[in-house]
Structures are given as structure tokens and as C-alpha cells.
């Protein structure tokens, strides 16, 4: 699973799906799986590879979402521009959080990242004159590729697939390059890495900035796809946890893990919601309970994540076969 093949099969299947699948619900699920996968993978760049566990990545996601929505509603600008601005602002904030990562470690860093997203949540929900406050803002639908006004879900699959592949390639770079090796060294033991000539601080900041920018791009495309930005959703801790969980369940610091985790979480969540959700069912929110239990079971029995677990299985089977 650490190899490139499983990811290529996954992306290949996702790319071909729109040619055969016509069902809007399935296509919608696929778009969401790819967006959450890309977001989790973007989180993984900082959280998995650099070991900077953040529970405030919704800050970046929300910035991307707000940047496209606001630029489009206030000035009629293209979401592509909004996406770029969102990524740039997220990077700037990533610099600040990166700086903090060199001051605060472990739980203190986590708390600082949560605080960041909460500050943005307050700004987003209270600054009525600019952000429309807690009502949120609808993203205007203007048909065309330049304005990303696309009704056809099949095209959306391809757009978010391109994003997913981009983030995956970024991780692949970290798997194979000098900087990637050095980043992992920083995660394993920062002082030891420093003593071996690794510019630990700079690398951490760079990883957090890249992670922030990619997350913002995910947020921008998500906003454009969904068509509505609600501050209480896009800046929520829930959303940050979703990114982290998908990466942790799939396999921290592995390129394909976040996509696997996101596919699993999104599928389970959607089906649980479909089965237990409905207002009449009287079990509203039960899916969260099942979700939580599944997570505890996961952490107890597969702490290394799915990718690591599957690899272990395959290796064991290979060994068993080699011994007659």
C-alpha cells in the first residue's frame, strides 16, 4: 500500500467513474470523497510528515472557501482568483503557525491551532458588514469554467480529482526527496535532526505553509461545489478533526493513507446518516456515536493506520507462503 500502484488504481477508477456512473448521489459522494481525501492529504503534509499535529486546519479550509465566495460576491471576481488569494492568505497564516510550532510543542501547539480557527470563526460570524456574518454567504453560480459555474457533477469529479492528484504528488515528493527525508527526521527527533545539519525550523514552517495553501485550495473548490459558505461549518473544530482523522485512520505520513481514510469515513458517515439520520427516525446524531465507537476500535486494533495494517498483512502472508 505504500507503493504507487494502489493510489493509481484509486485515482484511475475515480477518473473513469463519471464515464459509466450516471447516478447523481454516487457522483456527489465521489466528489466529496476526493475533496475530503485531498484535504486530509494536505493536513498530512504538516500533521503526518512533519509531525505538527494541528486541529485548526479548518482555518485554512475556511479561508479558501471565504476567499472565493467573497471575491465573487463582492467584486465579481473569478473563483480561480479567489482560490489563489485564499491560498496566499492561508500561507501567510501558515507562517505564523509555523513560527508557533517552533515555540510550542505537543498539546500546546494543538491548542494554538484550535485557537486560530476559532478566532477566524468569530471573525467570520460577527463581521457582518463584510462576511455576511453567521448567515453565511451563498456562492454565486455563474455558468462557465472560468467562473467554475458547473452543474455537471461528472466534470466536478475530474476537477477535484486533479486537486487530489496534486496533493498526492506533493506527498510523493516528500516520500522520495531529500527534503522529505529531512522532514521525517524532524518529526522523529528535532534535536537529533538539527545536530545532523537539518534546518528543522525552516522545514517545519515550509511544510505548514504548503499544507495551509493546499488546504485552502480544497476549501475554495468545496465552496464552489457546494455553493454556500457557513462560518460555523468551515471554521469548525469538527472539520479540522475530520481531516486529522482521515489521515490517522488511513495512515499518518503515508501518501495514500489520507485518501483511503477519507473514502472510508465519508462512505460510513453517508450511509449511517442515510440509515439513521432522517428526522422521523428519532435517532438524529446516532451516526456520530457509531462513528466515535468505530474510531475507538480503530485506535485500539489498528493504531498504525490502514495502510500500515494492510502492508503488515501482505508481508505476513508473503512470509507464510515462502515457508512451505
Amino acid at each position: 500500500m505504500r507503493g504507487v500502484a494502489p493510489a493509481l488504481v484509486f485515482f484511475g477508477a475515480a477518473g473513469l467513474a463519471p464515464l459509466v456512473v450516471r447516478d447523481a448521489f454516487l457522483l456527489d459522494s465521489l466528489v466529496l470523497i476526493l475533496i475530503w481525501g485531498a484535504s486530509a492529504a494536505a493536513w498530512n503534509v504538516a500533521g503526518g510528515y512533519a509531525g505538527q499535529i494541528s486541529l485548526g486546519h479548518s482555518a485554512f479550509f475556511g479561508l479558501g472557501a471565504y476567499a472565493t465566495a467573497l471575491l465573487a460576491t463582492r467584486w465579481g471576481l473569478s473563483p480561480w482568483l479567489g482560490l489563489t488569494v485564499g491560498a496566499a492568505v492561508a500561507m501567510a497564516i501558515g507562517l505564523v503557525i509555523g513560527y508557533l510550532s517552533n515555540r510550542l510543542r505537543g498539546p500546546y501547539f494543538v491548542l494554538a491551532t484550535i485557537a486560530f480557527s476559532q478566532v477566524l470563526l468569530i471573525a467570520g460570524s460577527r463581521w457582518r458588514g463584510f462576511t455576511a456574518g453567521s448567515e453565511g454567504i451563498p456562492v454565486p453560480f455563474r455558468p462557465g469554467f472560468w467562473t467554475l459555474g458547473i452543474a455537471d457533477k461528472r466534470i466536478w469529479v475530474w476537477i477535484v480529482l486533479a486537486l487530489a492528484v496534486l496533493v498526492w504528488l506533493a506527498q510523493l515528493y516528500l516520500d522520495r526527496s531529500r527534503r522529505g527525508y529531512q522532514l521525517v527526521a524532524v518529526r522523529e527527533d528535532e534535536d537529533a535532526a538539527l545536530s545532523l545539519g537539518v534546518p528543522a525550523r525552516r522545514l517545519k514552517v515550509a511544510a505548514i505553509c504548503a499544507s495551509a495553501a493546499l488546504t485552502a485550495v480544497c476549501g475554495a473548490l468545496w465552496a464552489q461545489y457546494i455553493g454556500f459558505v457557513d462560518p460555523f461549518y468551515v471554521f469548525s473544530v469538527d472539520l479540522s478533526i475530520r481531516f486529522a482523522l482521515a489521515a490517522i485512520i488511513g495512515g499518518l505520513g503515508t501518501a495514500f493513507g489520507p485518501f483511503l481514510g477519507a473514502a472510508l469515513i465519508t462512505t460510513v458517515e453517508t450511509s449511517l446518516r442515510a440509515h439513521f439520520g432522517g428526522i422521523g427516525a428519532g435517532l438524529v446524531g446516532i451516526y456520530l456515536v457509531v462513528y466515535g465507537c468505530a474510531l475507538i476500535v480503530m485506535m485500539r486494533f489498528v493504531p498504525q493506520g490502514l495502510v500500515g495494517w494492510i502492508d503488515d498483512r501482505l508481508r505476513r502472508r508473503a512470509v507464510a507462503r515462502a515457508e512451505p
Binding site: S177, Y181, L194
Partner: protein
């Protein structure tokens, strides 16, 4: 002509003086030992030389250029590598990858770094462990791993903090041989060592610290017999 010089270095932690006006030089190719009882300030001095601590006074020079004030990674790239007293291998990485990290400081090419790393892993006698995770190694093997990793950064001066500390008696001769080989190859070494037998056997010169100060600096047997050194280690009763 000295390669590394420690010039009047002092370091205080609150009211405790860990290093007081320490000065000494390392000539190119020299192997100097640092001895002293616990709390003498040996490790603090290492932290200062490698940029992890900033001295309150004094400075450290490599080939005449100031190292003091540079961050540890820059100090390493300038050519000063170290091992840690409390060993710190990257536990989740394989032995080979641990050494690759060091090699990548001198090359941008991962394949080249892997080749160099695997040479070094062989050289320190860990070839059969190359694919094992560092956390599975014994203390002696970890010491050798740290040595390989530090060497991979191609240092001009190598600082070893307790080569034989905590190591199985039987593993000591092998480690001593490694250090000797490195020295014979022209490397300049500064070695903290508690085992007097080991240090007097390998060092050309010994600097003795006590309560943060240099109390002796000279040939190993002279330092070992030095009245103040014996006092520092065993107390006054023995220094007769």
C-alpha cells in the same frame, strides 16, 4: 594552528555555574579526551560547541571563524558533528535511513546518500541491521549508529559524548577500535569518556573539568596522576 578553539566559555544556569572560563584548543588531527566527574560541565560544553546552548561569555571558533551564535544545523554544516550522551536515534526509521539523513546534509541526491550511508553502516559493523528499525537496536548498536550518522555529515571535528557509557563490557574494544580508526584516518576528535582506561589509551591529550573549570590539560598519564584530578574524582583522602 588550531582547528577548534574554545575561548573563555562560561555558562550559568541560574545560580549554578556549569562552565567557567573554559579555554582549550584542538589541533587538526588531534584526539582530545574530556574527563570529569558528574556535573563537571562536560555535556554543557558540548551543547555550547554544537550551538544548542549559547554561552554567557566567550566563544567557539572553527578554523578561526565564530561558531557561537549559529544554530546547531549550521554548526553541523560548517563541519562539527556530535553524538548524544542520551542516545537519540530516529526510532521509527531504519538504521540505513538514520544514516541517510546525515548523508543528505552533504548531497542533494538521495541515491548517492543511500550509497554513502550503506558504506558507513558497513563500516561501523551494522550491515546486517541496515533494514531494522533503530528502536530495535541494543545500546552498543545505537552508539555505533549514532557514530555512523554523525560521520555521514562529513565532519571536520567529531564530538563523541560517552562512547562506552552504558555499553556491554564485551562491546567496548570494538567501539575503541572504531574511534582509533577514525583518528588514524585523520579526523579530529573531542571525546567525553568516563572509562579512564579507554580514554588514556586513545587520547593524545586530556582536558579535565571539575565544577565547570579546567583543572588539568595535558598528556593522558600526566593528567591521570594530577593531584587535583585525583582529588576531584576520589576526594582529598586519596590524593597523597
Amino acid at each position: 594552528m588550531s582547528l577548534l578553539s574554545v575561548a573563555g566559555v562560561s555558562k550559568r544556569f541560574g545560580g549554578i555555574v556549569a562552565n567557567r572560563a573554559i579555554s582549550f584548543d584542538l589541533a587538526p588531527g588531534e584526539l582530545v579526551g574530556i574527563i570529569g566527574p558528574n556535573g563537571a560541565g562536560k555535556s554543557t560544553l558540548f551543547e555550547i560547541i554544537t550551538g544548542f546552548y549559547r554561552p554567557d561569555e566567550g566563544e567557539v571558533l572553527l578554523d578561526g571563524a565564530r561558531l557561537t551564535g549559529l544554530s546547531p544545523d549550521v554548526v553541523c554544516r560548517r563541519g562539527v558533528a556530535r553524538t548524544f550522551q542520551k542516545l537519540r536515534p530516529f526510532p521509527g526509521l531504519t538504521v540505513l535511513d538514520n544514516v541517510v539523513i546525515g548523508a543528505l546534509t552533504r548531497t542533494h541526491d538521495v541515491r548517492h546518500a543511500r550509497a554513502r550511508a550503506s558504506d558507513l553502516v558497513r563500516r561501523v559493523g551494522l550491515a546486517d541491521k541496515a533494514g531494522a528499525h533503530a528502536r530495535t537496536l541494543s545500546t552498543g548498536q545505537r552508539k555505533r549508529l549514532e557514530l555512523a550518522r554523525a560521520l555521514a555529515t562529513e565532519p571536520r571535528v567529531l564530538l563523541l559524548d560517552e562512547v562506552t557509557g552504558g555499553v556491554d563490557q564485551r562491546a567496548i574494544p570494538e567501539l575503541v577500535r572504531l574511534v582509533r580508526d577514525l583518528h588514524a584516518g585523520g579526523l579530529t576528535l573531542l571525546v567525553i569518556e568516563h572509562n579512564m582506561q579507554v580514554i588514556t589509551a586513545v587520547a593524545q591529550r586530556i582536558v579535565a573539568l571539575h565544577l565547570g573549570e579546567v583543572i588539568a590539560d595535558g598528556a593522558p598519564d600526566a593528567v591521570a596522576r594530577d593531584r587535583r584530578v585525583v582529588e576531584a574524582y576520589l576526594g582529598q583522602a586519596y590524593a597523597r
